[in-house]
Amino acid sequence: MTISRRRFIESGLAVCAGLVGSQAVAALLPSGGVGTAVAGDATPSPASTDATGGTSAPYDPNAHSWAFLVDTTRCIGCGNCVKACKRENHVPEKPPYNRTWVELHVVEDDGSLVITSPDGGIEGFPPVPVGVEPQDVSLAYFVPRLCMQCQNAPCTSVCPVSATYTTPDGVILVDQDRCIGCGYCVVACPYGARYIVPSGESSPMGIPGVVDKCTFCYHRVTRGMRPACVEVCPVQARQIGDLDDPADPVTVAIKEKRTVVLKPELGTKPRVHYVGLESEVG
């Protein structure tokens, strides 16, 4: 087959025009994509209801900046938060798949750290972890874990199709209609906060093979409600707050208490702050 120079240039221009045109279409569509129905829990409701069921003003994501406070001195490791999260967000029942989980950190007399999380702590914890002698325990405490909603998130920058993104109010979401299931964000997350939904299991969008993670229960927060895990915590070890509100208790606590974030050396700038951590948490 022979091809003339004119024909070659015409074909090349046609391909370029197609690419540019598709980009323009993608930019014009909401949420930056073609065929994008943003994940079920990611769509702010313009006329939403608050926790009491009453209506509230339309949600403005630019008027908020969400943060989370975990008080490890209060957590009793009951697992209610894990159960509530699984129910609320259709998280698979199998133990390895969690949006939130609880770890028990045991520091022994010799300084060694033993971390346990049987089934993500959903059914609570045994009095003493397997393999640890009670007399050797010098310190023990629970550490609730969830997505850190990093301000400098590795997961958003590595996604090859921009399926994971940060909302204006600081929450990182996954467009499950766009996710290709490559798992790059799963291995990029320093906190192990992501998983790929197994087949035959439920997920917020009912799509297996895509990534799922904690969203601070965005569908609830944008309707004036608190996240499910915060709602059910019997000891208020978990709190969500708005950093744009100077009087918010969480904002005050982050400013005035000595809170820490996990793995600060990575520069991810988490929005989840911890109170009372006694050892470095991986």
């Binding site: 690419l19 989980w101 971390i115 999380s117 590795p154 291995v187 997350c189 192990g192 939904v197 297996p208």
Partner: protein, 435 residues
Amino acid sequence: MAVTVAGRTVTADPRLAWRAVRIEVASQPRALKAWFAFLTLLLAIGAVGALLSLPPGDEVFGTKPSFEWGLLISAYVFFAITTSGLCLASSLGTVFGIDRFRPLEKRHALLALFSLVTAFGVIALDLHYPVRLAFGAVLSPSPMSPMWWMGVLYFGYLALLVVEVTSMFTRRERIHNVSCLLASFMAILAPSTLGAVFGVLASRPYWHGSFTPPSLLMAALLAGISLLGIVFCVVVRFRLAGWERSQSLAVPGLRVLLTIALFTAFLVTGWQVLTTLYGGVPGLSDSMDAVLVGPLAPTFWIGKVLIGLAIPLVLVALPRFYSVGPLFVASVLTFVGVFFDRTIFVNAGQVVSSTAASGVVSMPFNTYTPSLVEIAIVIGAFGFFAMAYTLAERFLDMSEHTGDHLPILSRWGRHDPHGHAAAGPYAHGTAATEH
């Protein structure tokens, strides 16, 4: 109805085609029949694995949230770097004026093409929604993502390889020369970007760092040289097209290149281990513990060091083994060793826990066992690769490519169509080797 492919007329009538296949099979030597039967078996195993993996989800794979990248990613990386290695190996010869492989370049161009197609096939089965990738990469590109760049570069590389191979067999010299030159650049860019996919992940100390992309280039070179060694030894053994040139020029040249590459890989591995042990960086030294004395130790010491480096180095470096047989064995072992090396690389980056969420007790290391489906897909991938090349060797005209190259490529050591060394500073030495 009939179509003409590479100068051969092929019927499109099913009955005639079946008859042609039967005649072809009947005309094959027994050893070739056995080889085809073996490859068909591998393909069948792979096809079963591929079908089982089609529904999206992780159940049929051994991967889990704490160990998301498994055997298929290792296989993808292996085939992807092999593609580049083939091009690099031949380019290296050109750069240093040892233009021994160029007249035989049909083989390494075809091998590179088949290897890249195999890599894409494996990664498509690992991705849960590969079609979305094709659209998403164009409609919502993410230039911040090394994986996006890797996809763009390898796709471009695939296109160039198709042009290169097609123009080579249809004797379109000008197009061939340009595509050859561009493919050489892409052969360096693509694997180093693949290295960056791992290298940018600060959360994985074993992968993180500027050392990762060049180390992938090193592995690519080793894979490419060893695969050329396998193929040219087979060409000489079975006296296939161009075997005289293979025996007199390509095989000795490959021995030198393989020796240098193996020795360099030995040094790189040694320094990588030593610097990691001295540093004691959390996460990094834990991963190296897993490699040296932990769950990855058998693969490292036996698969990589012994099979992949030490034995091949002895076989190619000692003068008493200077013959085609030992070079073939050394090439096979090196090729296998690179595959082990890639599995170690992918696994070591994930072997250290970032959370205890999936575990009962904080284990010293994450564990991962590939499922039968993953193993079947990889077996099928090797079967496809070997089958494609065997068919090409059997049915395509693999005689020497005789075209001239762009001045930049043929500055040193151009060869004439008959295999005699021509102009260039190494021409005298090459001719001496040949005769």
